[in-house]
């Protein structure tokens, strides 16, 4: 009897501890998400005359997306951005972690510096890089003119605009992957390197046979976290290029934002957002699967 009462009490305690999170999760994630699905099935004006009701349109919003070239272009640009940013950020994060592995003197300071850029808001970051990339007053412009070259407006050039956004993002977000790799490196026992040194392994062999296999799980984790994060790129594109030049940096979230708040087509924007959600959930499921395989392997 006593045991049952205790079990009941533990249930209540667990529920009480979980409740704040569940309320928060339900109110700010689950409800808006379900509402989003619902809205995507309607012609849902952002503002309307009193009495204007959303009209149920079934999957018409989704059908319209299929034929919308701007939607496809923005999806493509988002993929392009992600495929450029994720490998670059992952590789740079790994390189920095390897370089700053020893938490001594300058390394510790460098770690802090590389990590600190992540605390800035996107507004600050883009402002810094707009200044750096300014063709006349910026660091880049000054450097070009010092060399006697004619300056280029990187952000107004179709070839360079997207790489410039990627570079900005790299500078902004390198802290997390570096920290994850540093944590991963801590799990590799130093004695392995000593054993390998006795076994005549070169530095490259040590990296290939000890460090890299030891970091595989971390690498997958970084790739997936970065992919999910950067598929949602928005602020950099909006604030630095406004999607230009000639739509060449218009990304999916920006498209959702503009459909909703510029064109007032909230239902249509919700449908686009659902596409984004589908991509992200697919990546996440893939992450679970691969990481589980890694754990079992």
């Amino acid at each position: 009897m006593g045991r049952r009462i205790r079990a009941h009490r533990e249930h209540y305690q667990a529920a009480a501890l979980l409740a704040p999170f569940l309320v928060f999760y339900g109110t700010f994630l689950l409800y808006p998400f379900c509402k989003g699905i619902w809205m995507s099935l309607h012609d849902w004006p952002l503002l309307g005359k009193p009495g204007t009701e959303p009209v149920f349109v079934g999957i018409r919003n989704y059908a319209d997306l299929v034929t919308d070239t701007v939607f496809w272009t923005s999806l493509l640009h988002t993929a392009e951005f992600t495929f450029m940013a994720v490998p670059l950020i992952t590789a740079t994060g790994l390189a920095l972690a390897l370089g700053l592995r020893e938490a001594r003197g300058s390394s510790a300071a460098m770690r802090a510096i590389f990590f600190s850029s992540g605390v800035f808001s996107v507004t600050v970051v883009t402002l810094i890089w707009l200044t750096v990339l300014h063709p006349v007053r910026g660091l880049l412009g000054q450097a070009f003119s010092a060399m006697g070259w004619s300056s280029i407006d990187v952000l107004a050039d179709r070839r360079f605009a997207m790489p410039a956004l990627v570079l900005t993002t790299l500078w902004w977000s390198i802290g997390l992957p570096m920290a994850l790799f540093l944590a991963g490196l801590q799990h590799i026992h130093p004695a392995l390197y000593e054993a390998a040194a006795l076994d005549h392994a070169s530095r490259w062999t040590m990296f290939r046979r000890i460090t890299w296999p030891g970091l595989r799980r971390t690498t997958w984790l970084v790739i997936f976290i970065e992919a999910v994060m950067h598929f949602q790129v928005f602020g950099q594109a909006l604030l630095m290029t406004r999607g230009g030049p000639a739509n060449s940096t218009r990304v999916l979230v920006q498209y959702v934002y503009e459909s909703s708040f510029r064109d007032w087509r909230v239902g249509y924007a919700s449908a686009a957002a659902m596409v984004l959600f589908t991509v992200l959930i697919t990546v996440s499921l893939l992450q679970f699967r691969i990481l589980r395989q890694e754990d079992e392997g």
């Binding site: 054993a195 040194a197 006795l198 076994d199 005549h200 392994a201 070169s202 046979r209 000890i210």
Partner: protein, 388 residues
């Protein structure tokens, strides 16, 4: 086979000195054990021989060649690490063959050598397994295989058995001893376990706080500890150490008053002892014997521990009048073999609360001066005069 010479080795990390003036030699084919409590510097010393730590001062020579500036892989050594340090993403076979492949040895020769090592260590069935698929003892064998494969001149073992359970530790200890006999290689073995040290060592080096306390064959060190540290460190249960002050000395006899005011008579060639000097009397538990009431010392039994083959008595020494002035001088008495049998036969194994009379085996006593150094006093013999 090789010799190792350490000459005036110092090691400092900032202001902390972890090795202080270490000089010793490991002879050819010798198994030298570094033993001492945690933090005594034994692993640092081993890593200095391996080349993973550079000495702050002093020279390391292997086989007559100074190796201070020579990287670990060129010192002709192999090492078995405490956590085995097997490469987790390689099979046992690849772990063992790793060094040979790095040296560019022909693949067929690598396989041959790995197979030979596996046969020797009885691990043929494990070659295809990865470390996480093996038990602690199996990993240990693979780690030894990896050390053997390169035919090193010197083997270094860094607490290789400390991660194994008690039964496996005993088994692996015997296997290591066999391996040493078979290979006749020079080995340096680090442990904090005195049983491992006593059973494996040809000679042992006892370290404490970065200094050498004593070097010698296990039995010699056990029987003739040079100082209080060694006396207290070796032996389980530890040696009974009874601090006191010489109150009277002369000729062949001195009287030592223990801290609890029990006074013991020491018969020995103790001309060097002067009244007023501090000394410590050391008696190993197995050298104390129960005697009929005429025994040299008397004491109150506090706890009796029966361990099957032997019985330990925890006894508080008392003066003739039973007074200890509130300060206890506890001794442990180990009754084993015949002695225990004798008392068992008579069914008079003492119980807690009993008064027992003890005598110490003559010539098995130890005497240490105020600085903790052993006083060489032949024919040491002890008796009790009572409290003062």
């Amino acid at each position: 086979m090789a010799t190792i010479n350490l000459s005036h080795i110092f090691k400092r990390y900032g202001k902390t000195e972890v090795l202080h003036d270490i000089s010793l030699a490991v002879h050819e084919s010798e198994l030298m054990v570094f033993v001492g409590p945690s933090g005594c510097g034994k692993s640092t010393l081993l890593r200095t021989i391996a080349g993973f730590e550079a000495p702050t001062a002093g020279d390391v020579s292997i086989d007559g060649r100074m190796v201070n500036d020579i990287p670990p892989n060129e010192r002709g050594i192999a090492m078995v690490f405490q956590n085995y340090a097997l490469y987790p993403h390689m099979t046992a076979g690849d772990n063992i063959g790793f060094a040979l492949r790095n040296l560019g040895v022909r693949e067929s020769a690598v396989r041959e050598r790995v197979a030979a090592i596996a046969e020797m260590l009885q691990i043929q069935a494990l070659l295809g397994r990865r470390p996480h698929e093996m038990s602690g003892g199996q990993r240990q064998r693979v780690a030894i295989g990896r050390a053997l494969v390169r035919d090193p001149k010197v083997f270094l073992f860094d607490e290789p058995l400390s991660n194994l359970d008690a039964a496996l530790r005993v088994q692996m200890r015997v296997e290591l001893a066999r391996l040493h006999q078979r290979l006749k290689a020079s080995m340096v073995y680090v442990t904090h376990d005195q049983t491992e040290a006593m059973t494996l060592a040809d000679r042992m080096t006892i370290l404490n706080a970065g200094r050498i306390e004593q070097i010698g064959p296990p039995v010699e060190v056990y029987q003739h500890p040079k100082n209080l540290f060694v006396a207290g460190f070796l032996g389980a249960p530890p040696m009974n150490l009874l601090p006191g002050v010489v109150v009277a000395a002369g000729g062949q006899e001195a009287q030592v008053r223990l801290n609890n005011r029990v006074t013991l008579r020491i018969h020995a060639d103790v001309n060097t002892l002067l009244a007023g000097t501090s000394v410590t009397i050391g008696i190993r538990p197995e050298h104390l014997q129960l005697r009929p009431p005429s025994g040299d010392m008397a004491g109150l039994v506090n706890v009796v521990e029966s361990l099957g083959n032997r019985t330990l008595l925890y006894v508080t020494l008392q003066g003739a009048g039973g007074s200890t002035n509130g300060i206890a001088s506890d001794v442990i008495v180990e009754m084993a073999g015949q002695q225990a049998d004798m008392w068992l036969d008579r069914q008079v194994i003492p119980r807690s609360g009993d008064i027992v009379h003890l005598s110490a085996l003559p010539q098995m006593l130890h005497l240490f001066d105020g600085a903790g150094q052993a006083i060489d006093a032949p024919k040491l013999h002890i008796g009790q005069t009572g409290p003062r």
